[in-house]
Symmetry: C2
Subunit: 400 residues, 2 copies
């Protein structure tokens, strides 16, 4: 597997384009299109929040159809809690994109991100879709990454190349997300393209598996959004034979897809609102994969642990406390805890450690926490960030 440039335009036959429609501030990209030159298989996972934005409801139907030609998106407005008008606006946005692409609206997924509960400014959105269509090119991936950003401080793109039975297959991805990040099925917004030929059902299964260990393993603030959407388009232009269940080809494809999802997810955690540190929490020796994942994400999500990391305070008591309310099956008296390479707790009790060494580790920008339950063979990693003064500042005045 090889890391390559190009983001969502890296795979054969994908174009992207963006426009500045002034849904956000003037001078910022806020409408984007990701398009396959030929009809593609589509798969998707969506927010589990009971309150779903109009584009989530709409794009689920597109995914049910199994085929798509493109994705139209905007930032600055989430089109959530906008009632019937929101559904009509979402349909109009899909139709505008379909008309640009010369295809049917049932082949265009829609995604929105931004403030909740405000009607879409369609007088800006519709011309924006048209302009984004005019900008479509194989060089447009980065502009689309910018068009997805809200409180994000950097664009999030990645791409890899693998070889499937002699065919060069590429997977590219783009994502956004910084706050309201505690995905359950998907992230805020993530779009993956691939030129692999693959059946939509197999693609859906591969996407779910990849999401489970990537986007579903990050947390910024414990708030699961109304708009989380992860979509993949597979247009088949690589010319490979579709990988079948159980094959080595499928295993390779899944590994590459997971890699792309994991890279994007980690970028979101790193760019968490107000974050000054990136946290990686690994939990090993768990009795089940579910427990390992839940424990890792529980620790990564603890407000108290996150505030302690911000303050560079080696308060490992908060780590074991978060472990204790996250899962049931473990023995507190067998838990070992490491901050970076420094063991701070053994068999559930404190070890004497050098405060200076701890301080040095906690002063780093990337901090690794490792917890060993010494119970079973399962292991999982979650990613998050610290809780800073800046998080409070950003979220005290997001809307106004």
């Amino acid at each position: 597997m090889q890391q390559i440039a190009g983001g969502v335009c890296a795979p054969k036959g994908f174009l992207a384009g963006a426009a500045m429609a002034e849904i956000k501030k003037a001078g910022k990209y806020d409408v984007g299109l990701i398009v396959s030159e030929v009809e593609a298989a589509v798969a998707g996972v969506f927010t589990t929040n009971r309150v779903k934005a109009a584009p989530v409801i709409y794009s689920k139907k597109v995914v049910e159809g199994g085929r798509a030609k493109g994705i139209v998106l905007n930032s600055g407005n989430a089109n959530a809690c906008t009632g019937e008008q929101g559904m009509a606006d979402c349909l109009a946005m899909g139709q505008a994109a379909a008309s640009v692409l010369g295809t049917g609206a049932e082949l265009v997924a829609v995604a929105s991100t931004g403030v909740i509960g405000v009607e879409m400014p369609m007088d800006k959105v519709l011309p924006g879709v048209k302009k984004a269509g005019e900008a479509l090119s194989t060089q447009g991936a980065h502009a689309v990454a910018l068009a997805m950003m809200t409180t994000d401080t950097f664009a999030k793109e990645t791409a890899v190349e693998i070889s499937l039975a002699g065919h060069q297959v590429r997977i590219g991805g783009v994502a956004k997300g910084s706050g309201m990040i505690h995905p359950n099925m998907a992230t805020m917004l993530g779009f993956i393209t691939t030129d692999a030929r693959i059946d939509a059902g197999v693609l859906q299964e591969a996407l779910q598996e990849a999401a489970a260990e990537s986007f579903n393993m990050i947390t910024v603030d414990g708030d699961t959004s109304t708009n989380d959407t992860l979509l993949i388009l597979a247009n088949g232009l690589a010319g490979n034979s579709p990988p079948v269940t159980g094959s080595d080809d499928l295993r390779q494809f899944k590994a590459a897809l997971s890699q792309v999802c994991r890279e994007l997810a980690k970028m979101i955690a790193r760019d968490g609102e107000g974050a000054t540190k990136f946290l990686e929490v690994e939990v090993g020796g768990a009795g089940s994969l579910g427990d390992a994942r839940q424990a890792a994400r529980g620790i990564a999500g603890s407000s108290l642990a996150k505030a302690a990391f911000y303050g560079e305070d080696a308060n490992w008591g908060r780590i074991i406390c978060a472990l204790g309310y996250s899962i049931e099956t473990f023995d507190p008296d067998r838990v070992d805890i490491f901050l970076g390479e420094l063991q701070v707790s053994k068999a559930g009790a404190g070890l004497p450690f050098s405060e200076e060494e701890a301080k040095e580790i906690l002063s780093r920008k990337d901090i690794k926490v490792r917890v060993e339950l010494n119970l079973g063979d399962f292991r999982a990693t979650a990613w998050g960030c610290d809780l800073s003064h800046e998080y409070v500042t950003i979220n005290g005045s997001y809307r106004t």
Copy 2:
């Protein structure tokens, strides 16, 4: 029901005393005793965190015995994650108190609060218990309230008087808590005294019911502590006939006990670490009591909603978003949301409202959020606080 003074010493036959043992900073009370002159029925609820502090494990056994004569407590050290030494220290603390009271250690509950994972300074704790014993009096309630405090900014006491079939019955209570507050079965530390005569089994049931709608309905930071303990001692000196299941007397006693628990719980939420505002979240029209409670606590616990209240930003989208990930059974298109007396959302969509009026409501110190699901007849209230810069400051350097 009448509000009275005196805290845990208000009921007949209860003494309290505290000492400054320098477990915390010099000049602060940090060891306390609450004692009944005669043996009392005891009931208790404890943290559901899988990691339990030594005093939680110890006091559970005392409660199983059904009888107790007193409670010994300290702040400054939680005696959690301290292994076998922690259990031995806890036992020594109970025995020291029992010897002061001239009773057996099996009749003395122990409670600790403070930093996790550090061994108890027994050279300070044991003399402290002796000094607290020397200070025992009917005027000692406030000193004990002070001795329980960690990051609390004020002492939390209350008491009420009711009449049970001609007998004057009093219930007094004291609590502490400010951070690591997301109780599940109990609060950080809460102690209730009553001179009512009541069977230990009935008392346990009454305490669980009261905790469910008081301590279990507050949240500061979503972190369930390792030390949560709520105990009640009922010494029978009021001379009433023990109220039996289904009786009007029991109904009255439960109402008074719930009132005491609710007042203490609200004080904890009001004193949440770094809090600048007190939040009351009422959810009505729910399909079940469990849903109403879970939804109210979910909204009160959302970091994003809490930060918006701190910033006085009428971002109701975060309220409905938190509702959506907290419960399953409701129709987003029937949800009405009120900030104070101002309706901001109707049938799941935004209402035009005056930003000025919203700003006036959100500038208050006490903010009420009301959410109507318009589905069923169940209703619950949760209490919390905003998420401020000061919360991050406090928790970035709690241990050091």
